[in-house]
């Protein structure tokens, strides 16, 4: 492979990985009937905590773990309102994004004032076959989620809860417990995706640095028709589009920079317009369940 092509492949992988990670988590949550537009905020929370822990410990592993926990903690807050209080998931997801934006901004400005100077977060280097550990994590997650959802009792329970919560309940499935677990898993994956941003893609934290990646991951779940392999394929397609866009920018092409930056959002809209109506969504998506009923 010539160096130009190799660079493009690597850039594609780099940009696709956080999208794939977040999308796999959202896939599980949606399969269990939880529509979580708050993954954007969970990703941002994961990014900030990974940055803070990374800077203070210098350990990629600790930073990643902390990012995952931060995503799961925000997901727990979301679940408390949506599952316990049965509040509307869309409204709560939007609130969670606002909360993450405000909380990470507050903490960042209080804990890392500019006069201290900017320390970089530690970076995850190459690993097996020179691949970044986050790429391997995304691959493992894709295979694992696919296998568990399709072939195991746990996966069956998750799908049953998303399709027919009442029927699953009648069969003895603990609906709320499954939904809690799936939401937490989704938040953890979003946190991991956020950690990837800080520990691999950029070595620092910037307020609002997720810039819609969580929303693109949401769209990817639809784009992939709720199938892990296709979702990963979609993530690669988006990664490639972004990589090509950066390259065009670097070449100083006569397309205004701001118009190029629209690519991922426009691409998502076009893809949704083409495919959304063909996708069969879980029947009980975003429908509340109460064992009292």
């Amino acid at each position: 492979m010539d160096p130009g092509t190799l660079a493009l492949v690597l850039a594609t992988l780099r940009l696709a990985t956080p999208l794939a990670l977040a999308a796999m988590g959202e896939l599980v949550a949606e399969r269990a009937g939880i529509l979580n537009i708050g993954i954007e905020g969970m990703m941002l929370g994961g990014a900030f905590v990974a940055f803070a822990v990374g800077v203070s410990t210098g350990s990629v592993v600790l930073a990643t773990g902390a990012g995952v926990l931060a995503g799961a903690a925000l997901a727990a807050l979301f679940a408390a309102f949506v599952l316990v209080r049965r509040a509307d998931p869309i409204v709560c997801g939007a609130a969670l994004n606002l909360l993450a934006l405000g909380a990470t901004g507050t903490l960042y400005r209080l804990l890392f004032p500019p006069e201290l100077g900017q320390a970089g977060a530690p970076q995850a280097g190459g690993w097996l076959l020179g691949l970044n550990p986050f790429v391997l994590l995304a691959l493992a997650l894709m295979l694992g989620v696919g296998f568990v959802l399709a072939r195991t009792q746990v996966g069956l329970a998750v799908r049953a809860v998303g399709e027919r919560a009442e029927a699953a309940h009648a069969q003895g499935v603990r609906v709320l417990r499954v939904r809690w677990a799936s939401t937490l898993f989704g938040g953890a994956c979003a946190g991991l995706a956020g950690a990837t941003l800080v520990l691999w893609i950029s070595d620092t934290f910037v307020e609002g640095m997720t810039s819609g990646r969580g929303f693109i991951a949401l769209a990817l779940v639809l784009f992939g028709g709720y199938r892990p392999l296709r979702i990963a394929g979609g993530a690669l397609l988006f990664g490639l589009a972004s990589a090509v866009q950066f390259r065009l920018q670097a070449r100083g092409l006569q397309i205004p920079y701001n118009l190029l930056l629209m690519t991922p959002y426009l691409l998502t809209l076009i893809v949704l317009a083409l495919f959304a109506s063909r996708v069969r969504v879980p029947a009980d998506l975003a429908r509340p369940f109460s064992a009292r009923d």
């Binding site: 537009i37 709560c92 609130a95 769209a219 809209l269 949704l272």
Partner: protein, 337 residues
């Protein structure tokens, strides 16, 4: 639900949100009383403070009103921010390019209508995508926000940039394109009248007309509405157009009445705060006004809070988020109940 609870629960939500944030600030080593004191005096302390608060109430009330209308119809318009920017963009195009030489009597209505239309059309994209292509408006309106912001960035670096091409902003509006000030109210522009009257008009439309009943029926029970002969798709389109139009209007008033130019970061997140406004108002068109005043005060006071108490201004977003959580889970009628 009784009337006094309608008024009491939002106040309780505010009190709880402020208490939680105070505790968090305490844990971070900041002084919450000092911060809240600075916030209050920054929002209402002197003439400049309260006129700024009233100025910020204007877009929040209009976009919040739009969000409330959409939510009443079961449409999750998260795209107020983008629709506001499109309104500002269209108004700027009218005022500095298309009709820059027109007299005020023509120019002002043109840019206000242009702004509202642009906002409505921007939301209309989401409406068409939902009705024709089955795309959830939640995702499309969010994605359109990003596109709108970049479109404005492109415009102020390109076709609408001021003549010297030194700054990323549009040229100044001609005097004929500037809204006048209200007598005795400092920099508060006449657009405030619209922000005060439109909630009443929307209240009348929603609760006293057949069209309003149809729109609300779709939000309460779309299938039942269909059996009653209402076409939910049509109501969804109406709600989104109205919602986007109000946001676009807010954008036009902002450039014409406040800034006199278009630039990036014009809005400071009005479109997102508007969701908090609508929910705190319990989706009631008239409740939007006090709710908008509250969030406008938070926004105006946050600068003083940062200067005086060294608490970052973005902390008010945490308060907004908590108010949304609390309103959504305790005050609103929940699905499935």
């Amino acid at each position: 639900m009784s009337r006094w609870r309608d008024g009491l629960e939002p106040l309780a939500a505010i009190a709880i949100a402020l208490a939680v944030v105070s505790l968090l600030l305490l844990a971070l080593g900041a002084d919450p009383l000092r911060a809240l004191g600075a916030l209050a005096s920054g929002a209402f302390g002197d003439r400049l403070a309260w006129t700024t608060t009233v100025l910020r109430m204007c877009p929040l009330a209009l976009v919040g009103l739009g969000v409330a209308v959409a939510f009443r119809c079961g449409v999750w318009n998260i795209g107020g921010e983008g629709q506001l920017y499109l309104g500002a963009l269209a108004a700027t195009a009218v005022a500095t390019r298309l009709a820059a030489d027109a007299p005020a009597i023509l120019l002002l209505p043109l840019l206000v209508i242009g702004g509202a239309t642009a906002g409505a059309l921007w939301a209309g994209i989401a409406a068409v995508l939902r009705v024709r292509r089955g795309v959830s408006e939640v995702l499309s309106t969010i994605l359109l926000n990003f596109v709108a912001l970049l479109l404005v960035a492109y415009a102020v670096h390109g076709p609408l940039q001021e003549v010297t091409h030194a700054y990323p902003q549009s040229g100044a509006f001609p005097d004929a394109a500037r809204l006048g000030f209200l007598p005795g109210a400092g920099r508060v522009h006449t657009g405030l009248v619209l922000a005060l009257l439109l909630p009443a008009a929307v209240w009348f439309g929603l609760f006293r007309t057949a069209a309003g009943l149809r729109l609300r029926a779709v939000g309460l029970a779309p299938e039942a509405a269909r059996y009653a002969g209402i076409r939910p798709e049509r109501e969804v389109v109406v709600a989104l157009l109205l919602s986007g139009g109000l946001a676009g209007l807010a954008g036009a008033l902002e450039v014409s009445g406040v800034t006199g130019r278009l630039f990036e970061n014009l809005s400071s997140g009005y479109g997102f705060t508007a969701i908090a406004v609508a929910l705190l108002a319990r989706l009631h068109p008239l409740g939007v006004l006090p709710a908008a005043l509250f969030f406008a005060a938070l926004s105006t006071g946050s600068g003083a809070m940062q200067r005086v108490a060294h608490v970052p201004s973005v902390t008010v977003q945490v308060i907004e988020a908590l108010v949304i959580f609390l309103s959504a889970s305790f005050a609103l009628p929940r699905r499935g109940d």
